[in-house]
């Protein structure tokens, strides 16, 4: 019995333990899908998809320190590649995935090369320009993107089986957990530390022998791949994608999710994603008064205010705030305890 306890404690100490528990909890949603309204499940699915995107963006923003505004067009590439691969060319899921990844890597390299020459403040501007180019591309390549009317995915098949939305959700949960593990491995490996050192002081990092080219390209490649995978699952779940919905506001919301939660912590990003997207999709859209079209962008106001507050007063994000208050309460309790003991003596 004792042995089991020790083993369980060892397991608990493993960094992936929390991720697995989170995945198991999420699995409750598709299991009890009969009793949960469709809008709630959809909200969870979309939030999880944006969570994958935000994880990739956190490596770019939080670790490599590169503020890019091209996120939403990378998601769009995922959605449109899945549509053209599966419906237009009939390639099957895995070949489509491979093509999407190749496109994402190529774009990551392109953005990364640009980021080598153009630094700091100008980078956000140039990535905004690049994403405008991609939007233009989506509008003109209407064979693959449906142009202004958008595209519909009839069905999502895997190994010849058609997956319903519940199965896609389970698949999504698996990918979310894998993405969390991958992010954890990247940020706690030499790669993550190297990126962080470049962010903090590029010249010093270079002097220590860290290759700026390598890690910038890598950061962009990771971010684009995560965003494209997010796009693929968006298309697989929502089954509809239109070029105009992948706009600047979405890129900014992803940025908000990463910053508000806490750029450097996986749980922080989860918290951020649920604050920015979950609050809107799960709460606001279900309150009749706020579901009116006038209030459609109400969550944007909250995201904007939160971004400004977090940047100005809480650079570690909400997760930092929670940790701080937790430690404060803990130390206060300890002090009270020790005071109490002294009184007894």
């Amino acid at each position: 019995m004792n042995k089991l306890k020790v083993k369980f404690k060892e397991l608990q100490a493993h960094p992936f333990f929390g991720f697995i528990i989170f995945g198991v909890l999420l699995l409750l949603i598709p299991i009890f899908s009969k009793y949960i309204s469709v809008t709630v499940i959809d909200a969870f699915a979309k939030t999880l998809i944006y969570f994958i995107v935000a994880l990739g963006f956190s490596i770019l923003m939080g670790y490599a320190g590169l503020a890019s505004l091209g996120t939403s067009s990378f998601i769009a590439i995922g959605t449109f590649t899945l549509y053209s691969g599966m419906t237009y060319f009939n390639l099957g899921f895995f070949l489509t995935l491979l093509i999407a990844l190749i496109i994402a890597l190529a774009l990551g390299v392109l953005f990364g090369i640009v980021s080598l020459r153009i630094e700091g403040m100008y980078l956000a501007i140039v990535t905004l320009g690049l994403s405008e180019i991609l939007v233009e591309l989506f509008k003109n390549l209407d064979k693959f993107t449906g142009g202004v009317s958008g595209t519909n995915l009839d069905k999502f098949t895997l190994f010849g089986l058609e997956l319903g939305s519940n199965q896609v959700f389970i698949f999504l949960i698996v990918i979310v957990i894998v993405a969390m593990m991958a992010t954890f491995n990247i940020i706690s490996s030499p790669t993550g530390r190297a990126m962080l050192s470049i962010k903090n002081n590029q010249s010093a990092a270079q002097a220590m022998g860290i290759s700026v080219i390598k890690y910038r390209l890598m950061a962009f490649m990771i971010a684009t791949v995560f965003a494209t995978i997010g796009g693929i699952f968006y298309m697989a779940y929502v089954k509809y994608s239109i070029a105009s919905s992948w706009n600047l506001a979405l890129s900014l919301n992803i940025l908000a999710a990463v910053i508000v939660g806490g750029m450097k912590s996986i749980w922080g990003i989860l918290l951020g994603t649920f604050t920015i997207f979950g609050l809107d999709l799960l709460v606001f859209k279900n309150i009749p008064v706020l579901a009116q079209s006038n209030y459609a962008n109400l969550s944007f106001v909250i995201s904007g205010v939160l971004i400004i507050l977090v940047i100005m007063f809480y650079p570690d994000g909400l997760i930092g705030l929670i940790k701080n208050t937790y430690y404060k309460i803990k130390t206060k309790l300890k002090k009270k305890e020790s005071n109490h003991e002294e009184e007894i003596k």
Binding site: G65, A67, V114, R117, I118, E119, G120, M121, Y122, A124, I125, V126, L128, G129, L130, E132, I133, E136, L137, N140, S203, A204, N247, L248, A249, L252, N253, L255, A256, I259, S293, N294, Y295, A296, N297, L298, S299, F300, V301, I302, S303, G304, V305, L306, I307, I308, I311, M312
Partner: protein, 319 residues
């Protein structure tokens, strides 16, 4: 060849809103060391206010407001005042207290302002697009109309045909930008801006009130953004020409013009605007539908070769 001349002259005339937006962005960059992403959105809010004053409800049957000269003038002035105040508030409430924050985080703050305004616009003005009448449409049978018609007929002899709103935009922009350049050169405010731009701390120690200078720069930039938005709305027709995202392309082009000309001077970006507009129109004629794409790629190539812009000075980094 004639087509090229036509394109060049009409582009120079059409560059007005872009020049205003770019000047505003550079003004804020020089005083607050941030690129204001919310510039376009503040302008959009101004345009919404103007259209709301002229016609509070949007007409789905295609009716557009038909104000007389005085009404339109006052509505535009109110819209510009709102842009002025929003921008002033942004500085007083946020950027005044954000001096120690690094440049990228400051940028992100301006992105937060975009989100706030994007959310507020449908709350305050409803979700439908709005309409603003073309500038100069209400000048029929007045002295000003005769002047504009004379200019138009003069341009027509050169083979250049542009609408009256473009002439009005051009004249107003030249006057405003000219005044601003003169102010930068000869007034105390201008001296303060230049001093703050070169080194804020030293300027403060030398007795320049950097707070007021920065706040005024933000406010003027907001007003310019509002005016630019009204010019742009005139370029987009008359019905449903004001939408939430209608300034984004102008915003991107203004940034690109500023990068092309270099942020370190005031005249560089304006030259950048002229180059950008001319090439934009040339590319849109010869490379349709890939005009904008090739324009952006061309600018990016130039910037990759010369990251500090055509007229920029290289800043030396010290470790």
């Amino acid at each position: 060849m004639e087509l090229i001349i036509d394109i060049v002259i009409s582009s120079l005339l059409q560059a007005a809103p872009l020049a205003l937006a770019t000047f505003a962005i550079v003004l804020i960059f020089r005083t607050s060391l941030t690129t204001n992403f919310a510039q376009g959105m503040i302008g959009t809010t101004s345009a919404y206010v103007t259209s709301y004053i002229l016609m509070p409800n949007f007409m789905t049957d295609g009716r557009v407001p038909e104000p007389n000269f005085m009404q339109y003038f006052l509505a535009i002035a109110a819209g510009i005042l709102v842009g002025f105040l929003i921008s002033l508030l942004v500085d007083v409430l946020i950027f005044r207290h954000a001096k120690r924050i690094n440049a990228v985080s400051k940028q992100i703050i301006t992105m937060g302002i975009i989100l706030i305004l994007t959310g507020l616009i449908p709350l305050l003005f409803g979700i439908s697009d709005r309409s603003l009448p073309r500038l100069g449409a209400n000048l029929k049978n007045t002295f000003l109309d005769d002047v504009i018609e004379a200019i138009r007929s003069m341009l027509a002899t050169l083979g250049v045909r542009v609408g009256p709103h473009i002439i009005i935009g051009f004249i107003l922009s030249v006057v405003i930008l000219g005044t601003l350049f003169l102010m930068l050169r000869y007034t105390k405010w201008g001296l303060g801006v230049r001093a703050t731009a070169s080194n804020e701390m030293v300027a403060g120690m030398m007795g320049v009130n950097t707070r007021t200078i920065t706040a005024m720069s933000w406010a003027i930039a907001g007003a310019l953004g509002g005016l630019a938005a009204i010019f742009v709305s005139s370029n987009k027709g008359t019905y449903g020409n004001v939408t939430t995202y209608f300034m984004i392309s102008i915003q991107v082009q203004a940034f690109f013009a500023a990068i092309l000309g270099g942020f370190s001077t005031f005249y560089g970006p304006i030259v950048g605007v002229l180059i950008l507009t001319v090439f934009n129109n040339i590319f849109n004629v010869y490379l349709n539908p890939w005009g904008t794409t090739s324009l952006y790629l061309a600018v990016m190539l130039v910037v990759l070769i010369k990251p500090e812009g055509l007229f920029g000075k290289k800043t030396v980094k010290k470790v």
